[in-house]
Amino acid sequence: MSETNPKFKVTIDGIEVEVDPGTTILNAARMIGGDVVPPAMCYYSSLEGSGGKCRTCLVEVSKSSEKDPRPMPKLVASCFTPIMDGMEVKNKSSEKVIDARAGVVEMLLINHPLDCPVCDQAGECDLQNLAYEHGKSTTRYEFERRTFDKVDIGEYIKLHMTRCILCYRCVYTANQLTDKREHGVLKRGDAAEIGTFIEKNLKNDFIGNVIDVCPVGALTDKTFRFRSRVWYTKPMDAHRACKCCSSKAVVWMIGDEIARVTARKDQYGEVKEFICNECRFEKKEKSDWIIEGPRHIERSSVISANHYEVDAPVHTPLLNKA
C-alpha cells in the first residue's frame, strides 16, 4: 500500500508528520493539531474553492522540498499551498509570520465595528478569537469606519454587512449547497459587499447554513437575534426525524426553551453536516427534538462558562474513556 501511495514528510514548527500528496499545509497542521495550526478565517474544508483570501493562515516555508531546499520567497497561504516531500514550515516559530498575522488582524479590524457587546456572534466569533490571540488591544486607525445598512436577505436571515470580512464562505455555501445562488459580492475593494442582486430573497431550503459558515456576526439568525447572549444558553446535541437532512444539530436552550438551532461545528469551527432550514428555524419546541446530551465545548471558550444541571455531567464521555 505504501508503495502505491507514497506519503510526503512535512515538518511544521519542528513537528514531523506524514501526509498524502496534495494535502495543504493547513490540513497537515490540523493532523498534528494544537498550537501549530494556523488560524483560518475564510478556508472551509467542505467548501470547494474557499480559502486564500483572508491571509491569516500565512506561514513561512523555510525549505520548499527535499529536491529544492530553497525557502519560498514570500509567506504563503497555508490553506492553499500543497505540501512537498521534505517541506519545512514555520508557523508560530517564525517572527515574520507572527508579524504578518498581526498585520492581517489589524487590517481585518480597522473597518470592523467592534460592536461585540451587542453582536449575537460574540462568544463564538472566529474574528474575536483571532483578535484575542493575535491582535493588539489598541488601534492605530483614526478614520471613520465603513458602514452599511442592515439588510433582511430572506425570511430568517439578517445581513449586517458592516461586520463582514468578505471571506466568501457564504457565497460558496450557496453555490455548492443549494441549487441556486442568489447572493454574491457586489462592488470592489473596500466598498465590496455581500448582497442580493436587486433585493432578492434567500429562500432556499439549505440557505440557513450561511449563518453557520459566517466567521463573524455579519449573517445572523433572525429567530435568535438579540434574544440571549450565547453564553447564557446551554448547547445540547440533538436530532430529529427530518426528511431532507441528517438533522444532527445543536439546540441552544434557555431553561426548557430552545432558543436556536445550529449545525454541529468541529474544533475548527467547521460544519461537516449541514442542516436544513426547517430544522434550523422552524422546530423550536423541545418535543420536536430528541436530545442526546450536552455538547462538548472547549474549555477555553466563553460558552463553557454556562452551567449544566448537576445530574447531567458534562464530561461523561471522557470519564468513560478513562
Binding site: 483572508c54 497561504a77 498585520g103 492581517v104 481585518l108 468578505l166
Partner: protein
C-alpha cells in the same frame, strides 16, 4: 541601430487599414511562418530573441510559452492582455490605435506557435473606440483570409475575438483577466495552478501583453538572433516607452533598450528635456506601481554608473536605490511637483482598484490613502509617516496578486527618498496647503544634466 521594429511604418497614411499595412510588408511574417516554419520553430526563435514580457514583470516570453501544458484533445487558448490601465502607461493604446494589424499579425503567429485555435484580445472598457478599430481590422483580416478556417491553405484555423472589460485595473492581472473573460467577477485566482496549466475554462492558456505579441512579428520576420542584436544584455529588442510629465515632448517612443536615461529625457529625439527649463526632481520609470527615483538616482545608479533604459539597469540597486522598467510608463516630475500629493494620487488609484479579495490589500490601500490625504492637506502627524511605512510593509508580499505589492512600492519609495518632504508637510501645515514643497524649496535641486 536606431531602427524601429514596431513603429517603423507608423507615419504612413492609412496604416490602420489592411491594404496599406499589407503594402508596407504586413502579414509577411504570417506567410513565412505558415509556409516554412513549424510552431516549435517560432517558439525557438522567440526564445533565441530573448524577448521579455512587456506588461511589467519582464518574464522571458519564450520560456512562458514553453511552460504551456499540451494534454491530448484539450484546446489551448492564447489571450492578449490589452487591459492597459496603469497610470502613466499608454503605449498599447497607441499601438492598437495606429497599427491594429500588427497586433493581429502577432496574434496569428503566437496562436500558431502555441497551437491555439481560439484567441481573444481582452481590452479595457475605457478603450471602446479602440475596440471598434480592432474589430474593423479583424473583419478586414477575415475578409483577406488571414483569420478563419484553413488560413492561406495551411490547414491552420484561428478564430479571433475582442472582448471588452468593464474598466477594472485588476483585470490586467492575468488570472483576473481569465475570470473576467469567463464572465465572472474579476478576482485574481490563487496560483498555482498557473494559467499555462489551467487557465481559461480550465484549459492551458497563455496571456501576453499587446507589445509582446506585436514584437513576435519582427522576430519571425528577421529571426530571433537579429532581434537579439537590438538592446543590451538580457534586455533585448526595442521597447515602447510612454513618456509623460514635465517634459517638452510627451508621447510614445520606441527606444532601443540600452540608451541612457539621460539621453531619453534630454535628447530632442525623445522627451526633449524638461519643460520650461525646470530642474528634474524625480522620475517614475515604469508606470505608477514601480518605486519612484529621486533626481540624483535617475541618470546615475548608486554606484555612479550611467543608468540605462533596460530591465537590469533600472533595477540596479534593488528597491533601495533602483526601480523597475515595469510597463514603460515613464513619468518625469520637475522641481515644482509635490511627491506627497503624487503618492496620495497613486494610492487613491490602488484603493479604488483593489478587488477586495484579500484583506491586507482591501483594507490597507484605503488606510494608506486616508493617511496620505491627511498628510497632504496638512492634518498629518509625524507618526503618520512611520505608520504608512508599517502599513505598506504589511501589505507587500502578503496578497494573492501583485496589486498589493504595486500599491505598497510607490509609498515605500516615496518615504524612503522623500521623507523630508513628508516631514515638511507635518511641520508646515498651513504652507503645504497653499504651496507645493517644490515651489517653497526651489534651491534644493541641483541640475543633474550639467
Amino acid at each position: 541601430m536606431d531602427r524601429k521594429l514596431l513603429l517603423e511604418h507608423i507615419g504612413v497614411e492609412g496604416i490602420h487599414t489592411h491594404d496599406v499595412y499589407r503594402k508596407q510588408g504586413g502579414y509577411k511574417a504570417v506567410e513565412k511562418a505558415l509556409k516554412s516554419m513549424s510552431p516549435d520553430d517560432i517558439v525557438e526563435e522567440v526564445k533565441k530573441s530573448g524577448l521579455r514580457g512587456r506588461g511589467g514583470a519582464g518574464f522571458p516570453t519564450g520560456m512562458k510559452w514553453s511552460f504551456i501544458a499540451k494534454p491530448e484533445g484539450v484546446p489551448r487558448h492564447f489571450l492578449c492582455n490589452a487591459d492597459e490601465s496603469e497610470p502613466g502607461t499608454f503605449k498599447d493604446r497607441y499601438l492598437m490605435e495606429k497599427i491594429p494589424h500588427l497586433l493581429i499579425e502577432g496574434m496569428i503567429l503566437s496562436s500558431y506557435a502555441l497551437g491555439c485555435n481560439q484567441s481573444y484580445i481582452y481590452i479595457r472598457g475605457e478603450y471602446m473606440y479602440i475596440l471598434q478599430i480592432l474589430e474593423k481590422a479583424i473583419a478586414e483580416a477575415y475578409a483577406n483570409g488571414w483569420l478563419g478556417k484553413n488560413i492561406k491553405g495551411s490547414g491552420f484555423d484561428l478564430e479571433l475575438a475582442v472582448s471588452a472589460g468593464a474598466g477594472a485595473y485588476i483585470c490586467g492581472e492575468e488570472t483576473a483577466l481569465i475570470e473576467s473573460l469567463e464572465g465572472k467577477r474579476g478576482n485574481p485566482r490563487i496560483k498555482p495552478p498557473f494559467p499555462a496549466v489551467k487557465g481559461l475554462w480550465g484549459r492551458p492558456t497563455v496571456v501576453n501583453n499587446v507589445e509582446t505579441i506585436a514584437a513576435v512579428v519582427p522576430i519571425v520576420n528577421e529571426g530571433g538572433d537579429a532581434y537579439a542584436q537590438f538592446g543590451i544584455g538580457r534586455s533585448t529588442g526595442t521597447k515602447l516607452i510612454s513618456a509623460a510629465g514635465n517634459i517638452n515632448k510627451p508621447g510614445v517612443y520606441e527606444i532601443n533598450m540600452g540608451i541612457t536615461v539621460e539621453e531619453f529625457i534630454y535628447s530632442d529625439t525623445y522627451c526633449g528635456g524638461m519643460k520650461n527649463g525646470k530642474k528634474l526632481k524625480a522620475c517614475v520609470p515604469g508606470g505608477s506601481s514601480v518605486p519612484i527615483l529621486p533626481h540624483y538616482l535617475v541618470c546615475k545608479t548608486a554606484a555612479g554608473e550611467d543608468r540605462l533604459m533596460s530591465y537590469e539597469s533600472l533595477a540596479d540597486g534593488g528597491f533601495v536605490t533602483g526601480s523597475m522598467l515595469g510597463s514603460g510608463g515613464f513619468v518625469v516630475y520637475d522641481e515644482d511637483q509635490c511627491i506627497v500629493r503624487n503618492t496620495w494620487n497613486f494610492t487613491r488609484f490602488y484603493h479604488h482598484e483593489s478587488c477586495g479579495q484579500c484583506s491586507p490589500c482591501r483594507e490597507g490601500t484605503g488606510w494608506m490613502e486616508k493617511v496620505l490625504h491627511r498628510l497632504d492637506y496638512g492634518h498629518g502627524k509625524m507618526e503618520d509617516i512611520d505608520l504608512l511605512w508599517d502599513i505598506q510593509r504589511k501589505i507587500e508580499g502578503n496578497t494573492i496578486c501583485p496589486l498589493g505589492d504595486a500599491a505598497a512600492w510607490p509609498v515605500a519609495a516615496a518615504i524612503r527618498h522623500f521623507r523630508e518632504e513628508f516631514e515638511w508637510h507635518v511641520n508646515e501645515p498651513k504652507l503645504c496647503i497653499t504651496k507645493n514643497y517644490g515651489l517653497v524649496n526651489e534651491k534644493k535641486f541641483e541640475p543633474v544634466n550639467a
